[in-house]
Symmetry: C2
Subunit: 188 residues, 2 copies
């Protein structure tokens, strides 16, 4: 008796993420979602409520995973600056796929408080670690002590956004690499 679907909530959510990050919320239909998630329409509504709740959950999960990956790399090296470099390198490597976080902010700005709250929470968690690591790098003499660690962290994230949108606009790997290099140059 062949087993059929194996409905794994996290797996189908990842499929939804893939659609949303490419087409945005308004550009995605439930038809696209059920096809990509490979589940029945009714299962989607039973499991996730409605399209907006699913979107919010997708953004939440995406942000959590993205934050986790960034933190892992930031903390993954003895030398703090190397951790920062790793984080930027990953961004350059993965810039081929659109970022759901950036898309979401771009599409909705501050107009949906529930969404804003999600972004804010993820941002806070990541920023805390980034600031911590920037301070370490400053102590090690790798980042200019004249700069505010928070400002440096914000700057890195703004440049991550810049790199991702440059990629979405068609920039090649070498250009993204150069952007990352110049961003690091600013803080050393």
């Amino acid at each position: 008796m062949a087993r059929i679907k194996e409905f794994d909530k996290e797996e189908v959510l990842d499929a939804a993420i893939a659609v949303f990050r490419e087409h945005g919320f308004e550009g995605t239909s439930t038809e696209m979602l059920v096809r990509a998630m490979n589940i029945g329409r009714q299962s989607l509504y039973d499991t996730f409520g409605d399209k907006w709740k699913l979107y919010r959950l997708a953004v939440e999960r995406y942000s959590a995973e993205e934050t986790r990956a960034h933190i892992e790399l930031l903390r993954g090296t003895p030398r703090a600056l190397d951790g920062i470099r790793s984080m930027m390198a990953r961004v350059v490597e993965n810039a081929g796929q659109a970022c759901l976080g950036v898309n979401s902010i771009c599409e909705f700005g501050q107009s949906r408080p529930d969404l804003t709250a999600l972004h804010h929470a993820a941002d806070l968690r990541l920023k805390k670690v980034a600031i911590e690591r920037v301070r370490e790098a400053q102590d090690a003499g790798d980042i200019a002590v004249s700069l505010s660690a928070e400002a440096v962290a914000d700057f890195l994230f703004a440049n991550i956004t810049g790199i991702r949108i440059a990629a979405r606009g068609g920039a090649g790997p070498e250009q993204l690499q150069s952007l990352s290099g110049l961003a690091l140059r600013a803080i050393i």
Copy 2:
């Protein structure tokens, strides 16, 4: 005999731009457009064809005006670095309103060749002037000669994007100011 509407194509197009930059293409209905443009629905279709053609025209006009403003500031000072600073300062000041160029790239990526061509053309025009001015600044000893002028220009534009999305995500003026300052720090 009171004159009624005075249908000025550029004026109503500006109204369309205001809607599109805030809500994106998919998030904008023709109902929103006719209300904002203050024209009849049929006039919209007669004058602009359809929603997509109107959007493309809006992006084109917006890009042209944005490019013009950037070039004016870039070239507006004897010292090249001051021109670059003015450009960045304007971006920080105006970051409260969403950028239609950024939104458009974020929403559609490379999926619409006609749109991509528009962005590419505007980019090229602006980048040419920026590179020219970066070279001048390098000759004047204001920007590190070790850097490729093209890379510096790309970096500035990526940071403009980063600043604009940071603002759309809720960053305050002082934070945007700091981002701009750090971007300039990278190239000096």
